[in-house]
């Protein structure tokens, strides 16, 4: 038994517009990518090999699914024409099909099935032809049946077309509410109706009401209420006193303080209403919430505290620096270049020295552990061009994150908040952490985070 999954780009074109960050076939339904549900069903039916066909690019799918060894099947990829019929597809994939029974799943539709039931023998005994259908989708069987038709109750199988946000919302909620009984869903949970991923930090005062599914690297801060019927993706922060009910929060989203998200789909900087299809786009790429603008009044104590701490660091590190720097420079292990980076104010750039340290010998390793590659930047804190700790400095070629409406997205620092946390400092994760601390951190906690960053940097390097 083998399965062909056939998709046409026009079927999921709507998804590109609404959920632009993820390929439609990898769209998560209850924290599990769409394509995995189909692969699960193919395996349930007894397939040893699956081929994914599409008339457009499927590179992201290939990179995610690879060769299928993760599921114990042989996964391959190919292309099709929009007007290919099931018969043509069988012809175009003749070598793949061989003499076996083939199940063709066509269309961007959600398959409603129950993993506890025996689809394998049913698939083997049904006559050739259509098994299930819906507008825009179908499941067809080809090749002679392997066994005689079985008696007994019909095994439920139906298709729900995913033709817009509303059906996506319904399908996700269905998967959540029927829970791990019918589908294989990710997450660990002591009790049914509550699946939680890895590295999830839940504040003591946060409440979770079933059914709920939470992804990886999620922070639920104080007095938040999650659920009932909440799907939270990965790399999400739900800030204090907010509640998420009957809603989906997709990956890499930050929900601000004191917000009520009810019956919505939140994705990055977009808030969508699945019933009406309305969508609001926030200017700020991460925040969903109100942030009080940083007044120059509160900026001054911070700048003073940073400058004082920088002065302390300069004096303490002066001795090792003056000793190691000439030695490393002469030995060719200290390479520096100037790069232009954005300053805190849009439209201005500052020229920063970027230092590459060769940490392979003892001298270089010591210099690296003491973060001496950042030594020159400490002086810029005294002139208030840089903060002591803030966002990672962005090269001037990239667009400035401080959109006019929100001045709190970016403050370049010698160290970055992302380095203070244990999270890997990759793109989306780092941005969310930095954004959060920019809002919440005061001068005193900044000093604490500087110490953390200082200590963490050598650890990160050795594990990177």
């Amino acid at each position: 038994m083998k399965t062909i999954l056939a998709f046409r780009e026009e079927e999921f074109a709507w998804s590109h517009e609404v959920f632009s960050c993820v390929h439609p076939l990898l769209l998560p339904l209850c924290n599990k990518p769409f394509i995995e549900f189909l692969i699960d069903f193919a395996i349930l039916v007894g397939s040893t090999a699956v081929r994914i066909l599409c008339d457009g690019g499927i590179n992201p799918i290939e990179r995610y699914c690879e060769d299928g060894s993760r599921w114990g099947i042989a996964l391959s990829y190919g292309s099709l024409h929009g007007d290919d019929t099931a018969e043509t597809l069988l012809g175009k994939n003749r070598k793949f099909c061989g003499e076996e029974r083939i199940m063709i799943v066509s269309g961007f539709s959600f398959i409603r099935y129950d993993k506890r039931l025996n689809y394998k023998s049913l698939a083997g005994s049904l006559p050739e032809g259509e098994w299930a259908a819906c507008p825009g989708g179908s499941i067809t069987l080809s090749g002679a049946p392997e066994k005689p038709p079985a008696d007994g109750a019909a095994t439920p199988l139906s298709l729900m077309p995913l033709d817009g946000m509303a059906s996506y919302y319904r399908a996700s909620m269905e998967a959540l509410e029927t829970g791990a009984d019918r589908y294989v869903l990710p997450g660990y949970g002591g009790e049914p109706g509550c699946a939680i991923g890895r590295n999830v930090v839940i504040s003591k005062s946060a409440q979770i009401r079933k059914p709920v599914s939470i992804g990886n690297n999620v922070q639920l801060l104080g007095d938040t209420i999650i659920g009932p019927s909440a799907i939270i993706g990965s790399n999400v922060i739900i800030d204090r006193e907010s509640s998420v009910e009957s809603s989906i929060v997709l990956d890499n989203t930050y929900i601000g303080e004191q917000l009520e998200v009810i019956g919505r789909i939140a994705s990055g900087n977009r808030l969508n209403d699945p019933r009406s299809g309305a969508s609001i786009s926030m200017e700020d790429p991460h925040l969903l919430g109100s942030i009080k603008k940083s007044q120059t009044l509160s900026a001054l104590p911070r700048k003073v505290a940073h400058a004082l701490a920088a002065l302390v660091m300069i004096s303490v590190l002066a001795v090792p620096f003056l000793f190691l720097w000439p030695l490393l420079k002469l030995g060719g292990r200290w390479r520096s270049a100037q790069i232009d980076c954005h300053s805190e104010n849009p439209g201005e750039t500052i020229s920063l020295g970027k230092v590459e340290l060769d940490a392979t010998n003892a001298l270089g390793a010591t210099a690296s552990t003491l973060s001496l590659d950042r030594y020159f930047r400490l002086f810029r804190v005294l002139t208030a061009e840089l903060a002591l700790i803030g966002s990672t400095p962005l090269p001037a070629e990239e667009p400035h994150p401080n959109a006019p409406a929100n001045a709190l997205a970016y403050r370049p620092g010698v160290f970055s908040y992302a380095e203070a946390e244990q999270w890997p400092a990759t793109g989306g994760d780092a941005a969310i952490v930095e954004r959060y601390h920019l809002v919440h951190s005061g001068p005193i906690s900044d000093i604490g985070l500087v110490v953390k960053a200082f200590v963490n940097r050598p650890h990160e390097k050795s594990s990177a």
């Binding site: 008339d55 457009g56 690019g57 499927i58 590179n59 990829y77 190919g78 292309s79 024409h81 012809g91 175009k92 994939n93 003749r94 070598k95 793949f96």
Partner: protein
């Protein structure tokens, strides 16, 4: 690049072996069955180790000059590497692609009969 021509069912099968790039593209373009607008060709790409836009351009250019542009050149046995190059430029939309040369020949033969 080595070009081998055979035929089956009245359809010419052109099998390529090696790299299809700026160096070898003219050779493909100039080979008689490929260049002749009236001949339907099945291009067997199984042994193509590498293909870049010059090679792709040769295939597309040749297809366009056929009297039946949609089926003048039918492709078969595309490996993953060549397939990804096709997908980078969305060229897979222009051709019928088969994973088995015999199936491609059958398809081409049926289309040819339908035309005449």
């Amino acid at each position: 690049m080595i070009i081998t021509e055979t035929s089956a069912n009245g359809i010419v099968i052109v099998a390529l072996e090696g790299n299809l790039d700026a160096l070898s593209a003219p050779k493909l373009r100039g080979s008689p069955p490929v260049a002749d607008p009236k001949t339907t060709v099945v291009l067997d790409l199984e042994k193509v180790g590498f293909m870049d836009s010059s090679g792709l351009g040769a295939i597309v250019g040749a297809a366009r000059e056929k009297s039946d542009p949609a089926c003048g050149i039918v492709l078969s046995c595309m490996n993953d590497k060549v397939r990804r190059t096709f997908e980078t430029t969305n060229a897979q939309r222009l051709f019928h692609i088969f994973d088995d040369t015999a199936a491609a020949v059958d398809f081409a033969a049926t289309r040819q009969i339908a035309r005449t």
